[in-house]
């Protein structure tokens, strides 16, 4: 059931004399129990989106539905949502215990119930031993867990998270991600999680939403979005390193790149959807290039050793650079001549005029 639904939401505001419209007719719907990650570049409206759902901001046009009900006119405290902020927003003048208990105290719950709930949530997040401390005495990871505990203690079934891991060390982040996934599995909360970190998005999400230009560009299973992006922008944004995207034309069962240096066989699944002579934009992921065999040629121009693998930038003639992945153990140097081919099933075609993906006639 559509647990969270945004319908044609617009939001404009002025900061320092400049008018910005981060949300432009955005529509999105989240099913119960999903962990939806909203991925997008910094400053493009992710936080605005979250605040509109929470009720901290009122949208100019469009509607927000929570649990099937219209909540446009409800203030945040009546929407029964919980939120974790990037800065954690833990009240510095209260102890950890009081911070976590705060939402329940506001609901005037009896003292024993509050105590039991706080202890339970603290146990779940393994912060039971720091309940009497003040926030200024905690580490970043501990503060983050207090913020999450505070959000969970109400028992709200919708959790909104605004880049909560951005301020953590890289190693702590990995563990925090795992814990969040576990928590999600145990509690079944519907989570909307906002981030600009690709890795985080792909590993956490049960559904991925890509936000750009004020609308959701793509929405679906993370791996689906990764392998078959809905348009060229998503193709060149999602994934690190991003997809190789080039212009080309269909000729005699092949896709020939505009500059003529690449010729790839047209996948059979697309045979029915494109015509001879049609211009297409096509893309393939760096890991889908098979190096060492094949009739595509190029010269190595740049090498990035990331550790687990190596990203090699190959000049295929006329300055067009493609990225391919090498195993980290393989020796490769600038100026090497390489030959490669592309796995046929991994090619994605787009309409050059609209940027939208062309559907295959048969899969």
């Amino acid at each position: 059931m559509e647990y969270i639904k945004l319908e044609d939401v617009w939001k404009t505001y002025k900061t320092k004399g400049v008018t910005v419209t981060p949300l432009r007719g955005l529509s999105m719907s989240v099913d119960k129990g999903e962990l939806v990650v909203v991925l997008g570049p910094s400053g493009e409206g992710k936080t605005t989106l979250l605040r509109v759902i929470a009720g901290l901001l009122r949208q100019d046009k469009g509607h927000v539905y929570l649990r099937g009900e219209l909540v446009d006119d409800l203030p945040p405290r009546e929407r029964n949502v919980a939120m974790v902020f990037q800065s954690y927003a833990i009240y510095p003048f209260m102890s950890v215990y009081d911070n976590i208990a705060f939402p329940l105290k506001l609901m005037h719950r009896p003292k024993q119930e509050i105590d039991a709930q706080v202890k339970k949530v603290a146990e779940m997040l393994r912060i039971g031993d720091i309940l009497s401390k003040k926030p200024s005495e905690l580490s970043g990871g501990q503060r983050q867990r207090v913020a999450i505990a505070k959000a969970l203690v109400k028992g709200a079934d919708i959790l909104l998270m605004d880049e909560p891991m951005a301020n953590l060390d890289a190693i702590v982040r990995v563990y925090a991600r795992e814990e969040l996934k576990q928590l999600h599995k145990e509690l079944g909360t519907t989570i909307v999680y906002v981030t600009h970190d690709q890795v985080e998005a792909l590993s956490l999400a049960t559904k991925l939403a890509v936000l750009h230009d004020g609308v959701i560009q793509d929405f679906g299973d993370p791996m689906e979005v990764y392998r078959r992006p809905r348009n060229t922008w998503v193709a060149s944004f999602v994934g690190n390193p991003p997809m190789n995207v080039l212009e080309g034309t269909v000729r005699e069962g092949y896709i020939v790149s505009k500059k003529g240096e690449l010729k790839l066989p047209l996948p059979s699944s697309y045979r029915g959807s494109v015509k001879e002579g049609q211009d297409v934009t096509f893309g393939f992921r760096p890991e889908d290039a098979v190096v060492g065999e094949g009739d595509l040629r190029g010269v190595v121009s740049m090498i990035e050793r990331v550790g687990a693998y190596t990203v090699v930038h190959v000049d295929v003639g006329d300055g067009t650079l493609l990225r391919v992945l090498y195993p980290s153990t393989t020796q490769v140097n600038r100026g090497d001549k390489v030959s490669f081919t592309v796995r046929p099933g991994s090619l994605v075609l787009f309409d050059p005029a609209t940027g939208k993906r062309v559907e295959a006639a048969s899969s």
């Binding site: 901290l56 945040p76 609901m107």
Partner: protein, 296 residues
């Protein structure tokens, strides 16, 4: 070897000079207070009779205090006058203080958080207004409040409050500007209304400014003579301690010079609530700062 001892000599000299300067300045600062306290415990009634000898008292007497606390200066009042006056002062100052806090915090919150046109102009205007000397407002206030028929105790509270509140509102705006809005957002999601957030979260986090406003408001009302005299000078059963003391100093004994020991005793007694207030607000401010420290 000689260099080392010379360096030590310089160090000792510098230290010595600093200490001497500090002691001199300290004496210069404390001397008036010491003088007044000594005077309040002595027999001396006339200023001209005081000499250096009196700085080290030979006799300590509570005569001045006795006269002050139990004497009846105004024939029409039944009870001892001075305690009544002090009570008036404290109530007046406390009321001004509380009202100023309410106004200043509300205005400061609005100036900081609300999105209104010409906000910056309003804030700057607020700031500039406080440059006007307070005494210049006495006559206009008198005329205004005379028209409103409020030339009394309550009118006085209303007259004092804006003086403090305006300046404090600007300070409150600055203080609230420095509080990240995330705390308020989190509190609203937690279940507070915007007003609830204002009272329970913002007030606590802007505690130093609240303490400062309380102090300024209290001080301003407590120490004022001009406006108080204009408003309630004729109504001696409503007098504040300042009015009463000046009366004693100048008017009690027409024949001779003022009874300065009584005046001094009055000053000491008036200073006690002030001292208490300073200590309390100081503690509030330091406690607030220490709890906010350490947050990245």
């Amino acid at each position: 070897m000689r260099g080392r001892s010379r360096r030590l000599a310089y160090k000792a000299l510098r230290l010595g000079i600093s200490y001497i300067v500090l002691i001199v300045v300290a004496i210069w600062a404390i001397m008036p207070i010491y003088y007044v306290i000594m005077l309040s415990f002595s027999h001396v009634t006339r200023l001209l009779a005081v000499s250096i000898k009196d700085l080290v008292p030979t006799q300590v007497t509570l005569q001045a205090y006795r006269e002050l606390l139990f004497g009846r200066f105004i024939p029409s009042i039944k009870a001892p006058d001075f305690p009544l006056w002090v009570a008036h002062s404290i109530v007046l100052a406390a009321a001004t203080s509380l009202l100023s806090i309410a106004l200043a915090m509300l205005a400061g919150y609005g100036l900081s958080r609300l999105d209104m046109p010409a906000k910056k102009t309003l804030a700057t205007f607020t700031y500039i207004i406080t440059f006007l000397p307070v005494t210049a407002t006495t006559v206009p206030l008198y005329l205004l409040f005379a028209q409103l028929r409020l030339l009394n105790y309550y009118g006085l509270v209303l007259a004092y409050t804006p003086g403090t509140a305006v300046f404090a509102a600007f300070l409150a705006k600055l203080a609230i500007d420095s509080i990240p809005p995330d705390y308020e957002d989190a509190a609203m999601v937690d279940g507070l209304s915007r007003f609830g957030v204002f009272i329970r979260i913002v007030f606590r986090m802007a505690m130093p400014i609240v303490a400062l406003t309380a102090l300024l408001g209290f001080l301003g009302a407590y120490m004022d003579y001009a406006t108080a005299y204009a408003f309630i000078g004729t109504n001696s059963n409503q007098w504040t301690a300042m009015l009463g003391l000046y009366y004693l100093a100048g008017l009690y004994n027409y024949a001779s010079a003022p009874n300065y020991n009584i005046f001094a005793a009055g000053a000491v007694l008036m200073g006690i609530p002030l001292m208490a207030l300073f200590l309390v607000s100081q503690r509030m401010m330091t406690r607030a700062y220490s709890s906010l420290a350490g947050i990245k």
